[in-house]
């Protein structure tokens, strides 16, 4: 069995004149949370919908758990779970009824009660779904994707429109999915979400992958540090360096020799946000 849950080579998708995906290469390892990060219209959703089997690619190679998703084999759909950005629910059913029905589609579903518990819907299990709050409906989305006990889950912008408390609740759930051994593909346009959840992130813009790697290591050039301070005249000075030890020694030595303070000194790694803004800035 392949070590990678997903392999994508030179993926292209064209809608008439518009090329939404222009040569994407991605590998998603089994058991990892993989983030697809990018501004709206970057090609994230198109890419994910090709992986889910909703859209056909124009060209390129795609393997999801060893299957070609474009062939829409039932065997593949039994092993993946999909949380859509705007998946409709049966408003006249209760979460327990909807989950029991969904469970019947799969050969080895999870226990409905356990899924209700896991998704935080135990108290709402017998309410009509139309009476659920927005956040509870999104939890039901997740529960419906989870009840078939899939190996691989796709979460498309799972926290868009959430308040901060609900977002952190959803993050906890994604972490639990990882603990359960699931491979998770997450699209988001929130940097903090990618940083908090993803083992690795691909930054996508204009249908291409601009950078790929663990969020912490996604620096430009990999190891650059940023050193900033305010000099004697009050001006903010900023350096980028690969050798902060030497730079700090020189800075502080020079300041001591002049009898000055180095005020507001900070040493930092570029955050995912810095990398993202730099990569996605319009030239």
């Amino acid at each position: 069995m392949n070590a990678n849950a997903i392999e994508v080579r030179d993926l292209h998708k064209r809608y008439g004149e518009h090329e939404a995906v222009r040569g994407i290469d991605i590998e998603v390892r089994r058991g990892e949370v993989f983030g697809l990060l990018g501004p709206n219209g970057a090609g994230k959703t198109t890419t994910v919908e090709i992986l889910e089997g909703y859209r056909e690619r124009t060209s390129g190679e795609v393997s999801v758990l060893g299957y070609d998703p474009a062939r829409r084999q039932i065997e593949l759909r039994r092993r993946i779970g999909i949380v859509l950005q705007s998946g409709g629910i049966y408003s006249l059913l209760t979460p327990r009824e909807a989950l029991a029905h969904w469970a019947s589609f799969y050969p080895r579903p999870r226990d409905v009660e356990e899924v209700l518990e896991l998704s935080g819907l135990a108290e709402q299990a017998d309410m009509r779904s139309r009476k659920l709050s927005g956040g509870q409906q999104r939890r039901l989305d997740l529960a419906l994707a989870l009840v078939g006990d899939p190996e691989l889950m796709f979460l498309d912008e799972p926290t868009t429109g959430f308040d901060p408390k609900a977002r952190h609740g959803a993050w906890e759930t994604v972490r639990r999915l990882k603990q359960l051994g699931k491979t998770v593909v997450l699209t988001t346009h929130y940097l903090d979400e990618a940083q908090a959840l993803a083992d690795r992130v691909a930054i996508v813009k204009d249908g291409r992958v601009l950078a790929i790697g663990p969020p912490r290591e996604l620096g430009v050039g990999g190891t650059r540090y940023r050193v900033a301070y305010r000099d004697g005249s009050g001006e903010l000075i900023e350096y980028q360096t690969d050798d902060p030890t030497r730079l700090l020694n020189e800075l502080t030595g020079a300041a001591l020799a002049r009898g000055e303070q180095v005020r507001e000194l900070s040493v930092g790694r570029p955050t995912l946000e810095d990398v993202y803004l730099e990569l996605t800035a319009d030239a």
Binding site: I74, S86, G88, L93, F105
Partner: protein
């Protein structure tokens, strides 16, 4: 494929459960044909030859409203709400899903027809249907034809808000033209030609033969052929243009 059959059955039972939980749908399904019968019966009171025509006409309209209208509404609603897309992402076979949805509609057709036939027997003096085989054949042909046309028509409707306008723009004129041509011997030839070319009037003709006059299937083969042609056209359109998702932009 026994597993697909089991899933079709489960989907059908779920659709029935949801139907009964939606009071307005249940109301329209069962009270509306009764209201039409009561109103028509009050106007035509004592005129048996007119009542003989009223009952099969309402029966034909019931077939159309439970299949064409109901499925156009349902498909647009499920498509625009994202339910179809979500179902498409699960291992539920497409045939099992659509089979369950269609069987739900056909159940409503059967229930409505039972009400209309019973009312015809109890209150309108037309007795039990005379040609059961003809009744079953015409109802089946009408269901397949009008259900597939309803699914096909859903492709044309751009969003849920405009569904009522689109559906009524077809349903009401078809019902008026068909009723007029069926009832009025003096209807202009042009109107009769239009009505005979549409599927509802031939359906009502067949039901009239089966329920009232007892003219057999052999005398209504022209009507059956019209329904069959629309059915083939409807199935082709329904399958060809089916979309699982809201259109973008």
């Amino acid at each position: 494929m026994p597993e697909a059959m089991v899933l079709t059955w489960r989907q059908y039972r779920l659709e029935r459960r949801m139907f009964w939980r939606n009071p307005s749908a249940a109301f329209f399904n069962f009270v509306l044909p009764l209201l039409f019968l009561v109103a028509g019966g009050a106007i035509l009171h004592g005129n048996q030859s007119q009542l003989n025509k009223l009952v099969p006409a309402i029966a034909g309209m019931s077939v159309m409203s439970t299949t064409f209208t109901a499925l156009a509404y349902n498909i647009v609603f499920l498509r625009e709400r994202g339910v179809l897309k979500r179902i498409r992402g699960t291992p539920l076979p497409t045939g099992s899903y659509l089979g369950g949805v269609a069987a739900n509609a056909v159940t409503n057709t059967a229930l409505q027809l039972a009400i209309v036939i019973l009312a015809g027997r109890v209150a309108f003096g037309i007795g039990w249907p005379k040609e059961w085989l003809e009744l079953v054949v015409f109802v089946l042909a009408g269901v397949v034809c009008l259900a597939s046309l309803g699914v096909a028509f859903a492709h044309v409707i751009p969003n849920f808000e405009s569904t009522a306008a689109y559906v009524n723009a077809v349903f009401l004129p078809v019902v008026f033209v068909s009723f007029y041509a069926f009832d009025a011997a003096g209807a202009p030839e042009f109107v009769r030609n239009v009505a005979d070319a549409l599927p509802l009037k031939p359906l009502i003709d067949g039901l009239y033969g089966a329920m009232v006059t007892g003219t057999g299937l052999g005398d209504n083969l022209d009507a059956l052929a019209v329904i069959g042609l629309w059915g083939v056209f409807g199935v082709w359109l329904a399958v060809r243009g089916f979309t699982w998702e809201q259109r973008r932009g």
